[in-house]
Symmetry: C2
Subunit: 190 residues, 2 copies
């Protein structure tokens, strides 16, 4: 499957929010042109964006609102449950673990790691902070879809190596440094 541009993804999630509004109004179908007007783009753009993933519309009629919503949620990975580990039990890590919006979008934090002896063993909500040295072993037992890096800049490079070795393929990076990873690992900086 080919790479999808970030701008496309942004638009798709915009379309989804419009569809949810349309759905509430009880409309059953919507045309690419209506969707384009709502999103401040063109109908050709809308159709191109959607056509990257398949043909969801009916010619002469438009798109079925509930059907397209479902497709978009699937494409955007909403509705799916993700297993996430947070690495770095400092302030940012704590804030993320508490953040409700995270769980609402299907991101389940199932483990927290740190390298600092003082933090290891502490209880966090319903989790216990574990030593980062155990990450690789743990990942053999439970699958992590995403690792969230909430480490201070200096220690990040070492941490990334361990995350990669643990076979985790997606990293959400809150550290203020650029990460070097193999090409099969995806990084998103925030």
């Amino acid at each position: 499957m080919k790479r999808i541009a970030e701008s496309t993804v942004r638009r798709l999630s915009l379309y989804l929010s419009f569809l949810e509004g349309t759905e509430r109004e009880g409309l059953q179908t919507i045309s690419s042109d209506e969707l384009a007007k709502l999103g401040g783009t063109t109908s050709a753009q809308v159709r191109k964006d959607l056509s990257l993933f398949g043909s969801f519309g009916k010619r002469g009629l438009g798109y079925s609102v509930p059907e397209l919503s479902d497709k978009l949620r699937e494409i955007l990975g909403l509705g799916k449950e993700w297993h996430v580990c947070i690495i770095g039990a400092g302030k940012i890590g704590a804030a993320l673990a508490r953040y409700r919006g995270f769980a609402e979008r299907g991101f389940n934090v199932t483990a927290v790691y740190d390298s600092d002896e003082a933090k290891i063993g502490k209880r966090w909500e319903n989790l216990t902070v574990r030593p980062i040295s155990e990450l690789e072993r743990d990942a053999g037992k439970q699958h992590f879809d995403i690792a969230v890096l909430a480490t201070p800049g200096e220690s990040t490079a070492a941490v990334v190596k361990q995350v990669v070795r643990a076979g985790i393929k997606a990293i959400l990076n809150f550290a203020p440094v650029q990460l070097a990873v193999p090409t099969d690992v995806t990084v998103r900086n925030v």
Copy 2:
């Protein structure tokens, strides 16, 4: 002056934050390559971005950190004071008026407007909510660089007309609708 891409602006402000870090470390010069590594891009990209605004570097040597920082701040419009009015004295408007980061970046909120009789006349920090009908007249007396729209979706279209008529050339739009404006007015949706 030609149009600058949004992605370029994002990178420039990223460069600036790296330069500020470098400045704190006491380094005097930096090369496009070092800047690129920090920002996760390429040296050619860095040079191209900067060359859109002039030649700030010295061949064989790199860029002077303090000098380039200053140039970037100037390009990004930081350091300049902006006169801003908020339109819509509801929850979002109130949050924005209180938000400190706004003032820190040189955005001075100098007036608040609403169309709701119940809200007009209320005091807000050191401002009084004024009727939107007075916007055009007020704009003749004091200059507004930016209008921040924090109105509910339905009333936004009417408000935009008044903003345009008042001669305000930049709109920061928090309303969940697409704005139609003349080409000499810039809109940024958030």
